[in-house]
């Protein structure tokens, strides 16, 4: 067992090719859309970017979490998490169009002099929300995440070679806790800059956590889909067991509940306070067409997955669980649509760009992810807990 290298199966290579092909085609369509109607293009782009960012950063959060807590579930998905985290440089590239071309289409509320005349910013906002500082802060956020990525991936590689290194194991634990704080801190500020500033006169302190919880859902859902896909063929088919799926399903349920808890807290506080500058957020989002989307999000992002995931049979079912997971990733997109788009239009109807852009960014991202997955063994072969994690306890029936 110890000598096994767990190479990625051919299906990962096929996944990479197909994802890149479909993503590439969708990208061509998107570029056409960007030239024809840059406004709607960047609105869709921001939404898609936030989804893909969530897959990457949620994985960074989960990677640090599993180093901190231990647990067999973490060992089974660790290489997939690392492969998702390693896509961060691509996320930086994805961010560039927003900085260089998209800002004037997205952040008119604090960039456009005419808008500012209608609703002036506070003194602090005037100093904080400027193009220059927006860029400086983005560099800081990405520097923090890239540093965490660099450290955790390098040590993981070192562990593959030297499994006896106790200092290394300690280092994982020592850095994981502060790392999670840094990730959430940077994410909170990033989301204030990138999404909340779409409407600079509205503020919510739980807004960052809302996105972090969403990112954890996206990433955990993606991990479930990926390990089940891998388990169809050697060498992962003998690795993944029902108890692993059960744990991953439990965590997915927990993140869905966490997200709902944050989302509802924000609503409850704003609803109770009933202040004009605060309720604007829900005035635009809970009535008319957007109200319909809100109800859809409540039912299909919370109630349906919540009640399904309560069942132990569902969490242990390798056919059903990945379907719920994929559905949740789709609902993340719908939620981001509901969070961002009402700032631009009262029409709660997606455009063709809302279909093409998530496929374009998602396809390229998935291709890069699959490429990363091929570079290393599918399991952390240097982890001292590996054998215990993939050992078969379940006594089979006769």
């Amino acid at each position: 067992m110890a000598a096994q290298e767990y190479p990625a199966p051919e299906s990962v290579g096929r996944l990479q090719q197909r994802a890149l092909l479909i993503g590439g085609i969708a990208l061509l369509f998107s570029i056409f859309g960007a030239m024809r109607s840059p406004g709607p293009f960047y609105q869709s782009y921001l939404m898609s970017f936030m989804l893909i960012l969530g897959l990457t950063l949620g994985s960074l959060g989960l990677l640090m979490l599993q180093h901190l807590t231990g647990g067999h579930w973490g060992i089974v998905i660790r290489r997939s998490l690392e492969s998702a985290v390693r896509t961060l440089p691509l996320i930086v590239v994805f961010f560039l169009p927003i900085v260089f071309f998209g800002m004037k289409y997205l952040y008119g509320a604090w960039l456009d002099p005419e808008e500012l005349q209608k609703e002036p910013l506070s003194k602090f906002q005037q100093a904080y929300l400027t193009t220059g500082w927006f860029q400086v802060r983005a560099v800081i956020y990405f520097a923090v995440w890239l540093l965490l990525m660099f450290l955790f991936l390098r040590w993981s590689k070192e562990q593959d070679v030297n499994r006896e290194d106790r200092a290394l194991r300690l280092r994982f634990k020592m850095f994981a806790g502060p790392g999670i704080i840094l990730y959430v801190f940077a994410m909170t500020f990033a989301v204030i800059d990138w999404v909340m500033s779409l409407s600079p006169h509205w503020a919510s302190t739980i807004y960052g956590f809302l996105y972090v919880a969403g990112q954890l859902i996206s990433s955990m859902a993606f991990m479930i889909a990926i390990v089940v896909l891998l388990s169809r063929t050697e060498p992962f088919s003998g690795v993944l067991q029902k108890r692993h799926l059960h744990d991953l399903g439990k965590l997915l349920l927990a993140f869905v509940m966490l997200w709902a808890y944050f989302d509802f807290s924000q609503l409850l506080i704003i609803w109770s306070g009933n202040q004009p500058e605060e309720i604007s957020f829900y005035r635009t989002r809970l009535y008319g067409g957007w109200g319909v989307v809100a109800v859809l999000v409540l039912i299909f992002h919370f109630f349906v997955p919540f009640f399904l995931l309560l069942s132990q049979d569902v969490k242990r079912n390798a056919k059903v669980l990945p379907k719920i997971a994929m559905w949740l990733i789709f609902m993340r997109l719908v939620d981001l649509f509901w969070m961002t788009r009402p700032e631009f239009t009262s029409r709660a109807v997606p455009t063709w760009l809302d279909l093409v852009l998530p496929i374009a960014l998602g396809g390229l991202w998935l291709g890069f992810f699959a490429f990363n997955l091929k570079q290393q063994p599918l399991l952390p072969i240097g982890d001292p807990k590996l054998e215990e994690a993939i050992e078969h306890h379940e006594h089979h029936e006769h």
Binding site: W271, S272, N274, L310, Q312
Partner: protein, 180 residues
């Protein structure tokens, strides 16, 4: 036949969880159904080896949660809308968002309490005495030994045959468990 009124069953002692699971499987394969196993810690796969069917704790817990949640919500509804209607800052009487935290808490309370008490009731606990305690070595069941007991209530039960079967499975000590 004579034995049945005097003894509770026959018990064999094992020193590892794997032996325990193996022995339990074999005893059930031999056709015995009134079998129980005792171990100092939860042993994965033992429930399957014992052929335990799914218990009712999960449905009881769900029911308790739903009762707590619905009860919590509608109690607040009754207070705020029917019994003591008050105009608070012009909000509707049925201010459901404000009811959710209590509804949520009571769901958890109902689910947790019904899970604990449902589990105790299904296990027929508290039970101050059990025939297996008559075996002196059974104290090891809470530290370092594993026991399989074939109960006399089993229709196939026969003292010597059961003892022989446990012997074949390499049980360390095979004892008769007196019923009192």
């Amino acid at each position: 036949m004579l034995h049945r009124s005097h003894i509770y069953g026959v018990m064999g002692e094992f020193s590892t969880p794997d032996e325990l699971i193996h022995a339990t499987e074999k005893v059930r394969e031999a056709g015995y159904r009134r079998v129980n196993a005792y171990s100092p810690f939860p042993v994965e796969g033992l429930s399957e080896a014992l052929g335990l069917k799914r218990n009712m704790v999960a449905p009881i817990c769900l029911l308790g949660g739903l009762t707590g949640g619905l009860g919590g919500f509608f109690f607040q509804y009754w207070v705020a809308v029917i019994a003591y209607p008050q105009n608070i800052a012009g909000r509707p009487l049925n201010s459901w968002p404000a009811f959710i935290p209590v509804t949520f808490e009571l769901t958890i309370l109902g689910a947790a309490l019904s899970a604990v008490f449902g589990m105790l009731a299904l296990n027929k606990l508290p039970q101050p005495h059990h025939p297996v305690f008559n075996v002196p070595r059974f104290t090891h069941a809470s530290s370092d030994r594993f026991f399989v007991c074939i109960e006399a209530k089993d229709p196939k039960f026969h003292l010597e045959e059961c003892a022989r079967l446990l012997q074949q499975l390499h049980a360390h000590h095979i004892v008769e468990v007196p019923d009192d």
